[in-house]
């Protein structure tokens, strides 16, 4: 396995299964912990911890108030930031964010924008004067492949958990008054779910690659779908060429996965709301 990893994998793939016992189209067990009781971040307004097999990603959302930009006076901001600290895998060094972290941050920003998960107008408190800024920090604690799926999932779960305090503007003083007692949940319009595939030797497609599989793969594809079956994003950064039909297979699998994930999130949210 260490000397000829590619040959080792090829032998398994010929039998249509993988070394850890999964089928080609099977995902690793997914667990998600949402909220202040189960999750560790008590200072954040919303938080979630997602484990996809060994890959562990934690997301914390903090809401702050700021003045909106001059050209879009009724829009708030969402700022995602993906960090891959050196504790999660030995190939990431400490220092300024590497290319992978920045590309992942850009990808998450695109997904939020494309899927219209949070409409920026909803984040506005007073047009032109005050709007919410949501800083979403996604930190990978253990990297075992499939970072993008886990990050999108963690972001979605954390945002569902966010409670924004109501803000009123005092007419006389012009200052804002934050009412911490009265909290409203964030309005989330769409629920995008990402599904990643690894391509081997231009033909085989496997779902949810581990870090080892990602290294050996000749290409990766990530598809983000929302609940209506619309594609929010197709991200295929280079790698071996795929025919249109193969891409279509990926999309159908992604839509099935979306339903599974949605059921899981709903179950977890229902179990914490009574508190």
């Amino acid at each position: 396995r260490t000397v000829e990893p590619l040959e080792y994998y090829r032998r398994f793939l010929k039998e249509n299964c993988r070394p850890d016992g999964r089928e080609l189209g099977e995902f690793r067990t997914t667990t998600v912990n949402i909220g202040k009781c189960l999750c560790s971040i008590t200072t954040a307004d919303g938080s979630a911890l997602v484990k996809l097999g060994n890959t562990t990603v934690i997301c914390g959302v903090k809401a702050e108030l700021a003045a909106p930009a001059a050209d879009s006076a009724n829009k708030g901001y969402i700022v995602p930031n993906v960090e891959l600290p050196s504790l999660c895998a030995e190939r990431f060094r400490s220092g300024p964010p590497g290319e992978e972290a920045q590309a992942a941050s850009q990808f998450i920003a695109d997904v939020i924008e494309n899927s219209q998960m949070i409409v920026k107008e909803d984040l506005c408190v007073a047009s032109g004067k005050l709007a919410w800024v949501l800083y979403c920090d996604i930190i990978c604690l253990d990297y075992d492949g499939n970072l993008l799926d886990a990050s999108v999932f963690a972001l979605l779960a954390a945002l569902k958990n966010v409670q924004l305090p109501s803000v009123t503007i005092n007419e006389e003083t012009g200052l804002s008054e934050v009412n911490l007692k009265q909290k409203n949940p964030l309005i989330i319009r769409k629920h995008p779910v990402a599904t990643s595939f690894a391509v081997f030797d231009d033909t085989l497609l496997i779902v949810d690659p581990t870090a080892e599989e990602e290294d050996l793969a000749t290409g990766t594809v990530t598809i983000v779908t929302d609940e209506e079956g619309r594609l929010c994003s197709v991200h295929k950064p280079g790698g071996s060429p795929l025919t249109g039909a193969k891409l279509q297979d990926c999309i159908t699998r992604a839509i099935t996965r979306h339903k599974e994930v949605k059921k899981l999130i709903d179950k977890v949210i229902k179990s914490i709301t009574p508190k």
């Binding site: 290319e99 992978e100 920045q102 590309a103 941050s105 850009q106 990808f107 920003a109 695109d110 924008e113 494309n114 899927s115 219209q116 000749t218 290409g219 594809v221 929302d226 079956g229 619309r230 594609l231 929010c232 994003s233 197709v234 991200h235 295929k236 950064p237 280079g238 790698g239 071996s240 060429p241 795929l242 025919t243 249109g244 891409l247 279509q248 999309i251």
Partner: protein
């Protein structure tokens, strides 16, 4: 195409720094410089897209332990920037004479709110569109090398855009042939 222009410079295969060299293939690096400002996160993600597309195409195993650097400078942006970068990158690879497995070209499709598909949109058309899809199409069998979408669309719409992009790829490859012929017939 149109008013968007990107200048591509390719350097290599040259000697790589020990920290960057790969033992069995060439190490590819892409640098994208925007027209104004310092490169930001958007440039990094574009660089990653371009780099992995080029890595799939360039036969790196013929030049192990070397570095190939591709520098792209955006001169003007009037829409379809990513596919312009892709085309510039491919022509630079061709011009440098690097061994390639296949040629590729970038095509951008804009999906307008009324359902019509527009190829190579201008900046204003991009803003009005409800989805913009960029594909890198390989010259052998018209397979998809790279796909990037902005905005949401349905699956059928994506397939239609893909088919349209594959047809448009033929025109672009013809343009490649003409340019190369002009260059070398002097």
């Amino acid at each position: 195409p149109g008013d968007t222009s990107v200048l591509a410079g390719l350097y290599g295969p040259a000697e790589a720094k020990v920290s960057k060299e790969l033992p069995d293939r060439a190490a590819l690096e892409v640098l994208l410089r925007p027209k104004v400002g310092l490169p930001g996160v958007m440039e990094r993600s574009r660089e990653q897209l371009l780099r992995q597309t080029c890595e799939a195409v360039v036969l790196g195993v013929l030049h192990p332990r070397t570095a190939i650097t591709l520098v792209l400078q955006v001169l003007s942006d009037a829409g379809s920037l990513l596919s312009c970068c892709l085309n510039a990158a491919c022509m630079a690879l061709l011009d440098a004479g690097l061994p390639l497995a296949t040629l590729f070209c970038g095509v951008t499709c804009a999906l307008q709110p009324d359902g019509t598909i527009l190829l190579d949109p201008t900046a204003r058309q991009e803003q009005e569109a409800c989805a913009i899809l960029t594909f890198a199409i390989a010259s052998s069998e018209r397979k998809v090398l790279m796909a990037n979408t902005k905005g949401s669309c349905s699956v059928e719409e994506m397939q239609q855009c893909l088919a349209a992009a594959q047809r448009a790829a033929d025109t672009i490859f013809q343009f490649y042939r003409d340019s190369v012929r002009r260059r070398y017939s002097k």
